[in-house]
Symmetry: C2
Subunit: 503 residues, 2 copies
């Protein structure tokens, strides 16, 4: 093996951010590309992250009255067409099923080859999202106002045939949850849209240690068919934005097309007000880009695949068993402790190989503990934190470590959030001067600009194209300040827009 | 609404078992058919069952060292072809993706219609099972014996384009888990195959209250490409068999085709020994058919969507709030209690509608509690158990109910298991007389026969076809008794086979 380089990941973030990202994923063994175009394999260390995200989010969904269900993967083409705006939005990136069996066909060279057979009278589309098929079900389930609200969530795989893919951030197939709800009144649907948006913001902040700007999408950036799209926008370390989750108020647009109607309290027939909201495995990509460093992955403790890795140091055969026993005993004690209501996730790495320590650095375990023969007598442990430089060690009495382990994990969690917030704030500037705005986008890694905005959708699209940027959102908490002249049109406006490059 | 019939479900089991099954599903609101051919929508009450099954099984998988991962939905056709036996097994029921976008095509009448466009150079098959794609990954992951064993599980949707479908038991798309493992030695792989088989048997018995016959499949009934298939066979109330789970020892068959090879301890290149094992949403169909009665679904408490439903009885407006408060308070107390390590699942049904009670009978909640105004003073509750006749009630002091609730749930669980075992045993007969064997299958609902068997695969298939039966398994615990003459060939044999009709 090559000599340990200065950094465990090559290239570094500043040398080549996109390649650094791929190497962090590889070094942490989170995922790999597969033989299926644009689709990745999520390996155990990456999937464990997803399982934690899933379980923790699911709790919030259930606490707010939602129930999980499962709808078909395949959507009949005719269904999909009905919802014209939505179909158009996804038409260029749909996997289409046209046949329902294979037939062995004899080739000229005498061999046989399997070919599609049994052509379907109506093709099916693999769901890029499930509004249409869930809407059809909602239409059947809704007769009276008493049947509302419908509060449904689905954990599923979806497919969008993207041309350029990047692991976790944009893959042809990805895992996600999609919430779909139907309500009696506009107000209830608006409240639901905002509630789920707030849950996403809280989840990203408290669980993933990612501060986001909660805001509304401009008309140009809205979900096809939505009246309002709320988004949580994260900044990652190359100062680009990632749309980490969205919550859509669909008005009566979908319910009218799909006839989600009901007999109201006054006996009249009314259309329901619907919402949809989702986050995906993209959260993992966001987490990697937000926190990791030139030594590899850094995972926030709350969602970490394992929170503590214990490494027995066993230079001599005769003390080996005793050291390993001590490590296992410590792990058992730790597993009986809780962090945010879940038992601590602890792994003892008993493998007899070199380079173990760097492996766990690259894999981003929040706490690494080493125990060697001498520590048995002194009852000490050597603690290393992934949020601190890799050569920093603390030797602690075992009891002291055990007493403080939850607060140490929380400290790491808080440090990551604080760092990300500081970075984001340092790279977000108010800008009301058109010349400064123009110039800002010429550098390689421009941060975000917050500007007064009163342009039309067309003007926004022209500006976006010119600088390869977009309005990430109209931040919710900045829409009622003083009027200033729009950065483009000069019209006085209270609206503030955040501009940036994005994934 | 029609007057309450003698039974809540029409027709009854004895009148028309298949239709009774559909009506139980409908009455319990577990699932419904969708617009996608052969695919169902799993509704919240049904999906909650699946979530409980999933979480409880997942614990067993993790306890035995398995890790979850996720592999692509789409398998390149060329991959699929490689594993010839497996491809043949599924070729007649594959959904094939041939295009990657839609195009709006102008029709003669001026309208536009979406049509498949962007033909793929290589079609993809939606996974009917993932041996091929996981095998390709295993091939990359295995260099040295140190990389083994690989112990991977995947929770996913799969698709088999079945011609005749039946909700939960046979649907085109279904949810399942598929375990895939690779080992250094044959013995380890055999041990793994048996370990997972034993976990399925235990899970069905202890969690689903379904006794199964653990056994080996005959060659004719094996998974395509397997050297040995172990199965858990359940008997349901029309005396048919359901294959509820299988565990396959794949020998080196798949590893040779897919080159899952490694450098062994002696430096030589060797092929890994692999296994695969799975259960699916079919478990829910099995559960319904095994336990439910003419009043609807009966759910075993351990996996029940809700274990206890509390129904406030509020005839008068002035005591309504007090009754509901008492119900909520009771629910809170119950939720702080555990049943097999999980907090009790309790629902308070506050809806102000008629027919609530029968709804919960049909939905199969193990315990129903009613509390009315008079019970507030007397501190009593009215308890009804779903395993007892629907008119049977017990009036208990609230404290007594609370003290015994876990044991009551366990009693219900045990009763269901005992009933199913008694039924199965009463309908399974030893048979060594060919004439009796022939005659047995002429009745409408024949049970199982256990016979001495020494026939060939061909003879087995002829016999199976003649009587519309199959060897369900060669039961593991009956293969070392005395020799008796084979039911067909008369050859002396120790082998015992269980014959029956099946779903």
């Amino acid at each position: 093996m090559a000599k340990q380089a200065k950094t465990a990941i090559q290239p570094t973030r500043s040398e080549d951010f996109p390649e650094w990202y791929q190497q962090v994923i590889k070094g942490a063994d989170l995922a790999e590309n597969s033989e299926t175009r644009g689709c990745m394999i999520i390996k155990p260390w990456g999937y464990a992250l997803w399982e934690n995200i899933q379980q923790q989010l699911d709790k919030y969904f259930k606490q707010t009255g939602h129930q999980n269900a499962y709808f078909p993967l395949l959507i009949p083409l005719s269904h999909f067409e009905k919802e014209a705006e939505c179909a158009e939005g996804f038409a260029t990136e749909c996997a289409v099923v046209t046949h329902h069996r294979l037939e062995a066909i004899k080739q000229d060279d005498g061999t046989t080859k399997m070919e599609p057979a049994g052509k379907l009278t109506e093709p099916y589309v693999i769901r890029p999202t499930s509004e249409t098929i869930i809407g059809a079900a909602f239409s059947r389930w809704t007769e009276s106002y008493r049947d509302l609200p419908l509060l449904i969530n689905q954990w599923a795989n979806v497919m969008r045939w993207e041309m350029r893919t990047r692991m976790f951030l944009r893959t042809a197939e990805f895992l996600w949850q999609e919430g779909h709800t139907a309500h009696e009144t506009k107000q209830e649907a608006l409240d639901e849209t905002r509630q789920m948006h707030a849950i996403y913001e809280k989840f990203l902040r408290e669980h993933l240690a990612i501060p986001t700007i909660p805001g509304e999408k401009s008309e140009a950036e809205r979900f096809p068919g939505a009246d309002m799209t709320l988004t949580v926008e994260a900044m990652v370390q190359d100062k680009k934005a990632i749309q980490a989750g969205t919550s859509h108020f669909l008005g009566q647009n979908f319910s009218k097309v799909q006839d989600i109607s009901f007999t109201g309290r006054d006996g009249s027939t009314q259309h329901a007000w619907t919402t949809s909201w989702g986050v995906s495995t993209r959260l993992i990509g966001t987490l990697i880009m937000a926190h990791s460093d030139d030594d590899g992955l850094i995972m926030p403790p709350r969602v970490a695949s394992q929170q503590i890795v214990i490494i027995p140091v066993t230079p001599k055969e005769d003390t080996r068993d005793a050291v390993i026993d001590a490590c296992e005993a410590l792990a058992q004690t730790l597993r009986s402790k809780d962090f945010h209501g879940e038992p601590l996730r602890v792994l003892v790495d008993k493998r007899d190989i070199r380079g173990k320590k760097w492996e766990w650095v690259k894999k981003g375990a929040p706490i690494r503990i080493e125990i060697g023969p001498r520590d048995l007598e002194s009852r000490k442990v050597c603690l290393q934190r992934r949020d601190q430089p890799s050569n920093e060690k603390a030797f602690l009495a075992k009891e002291e470590f055990l007493q403080n382990v939850e607060s140490t994990l929380q400290e790491i969690q808080d440090t990551l959030l604080e760092r990300a917030a500081t970075f984001r704030d340092a790279n977000t500037q108010d800008c009301s001067d058109p010349a400064t705005f123009e110039k800002h986008w010429s550098c390689e890694s421009p941060g975000w600009l917050v500007t007064p905005w009163a342009g039309t959708t067309e003007e926004e699209e022209t500006l976006s194209k010119k600088h390869k940027i977009a309005i990430r959102c109209l931040p919710l908490d900045q829409q009622d300040g003083e009027e200033s002249p729009c950065i483009l049109t000069g019209k006085p406006t209270k609206t503030r827009a955040i501009w940036g490059r994005s994934y």
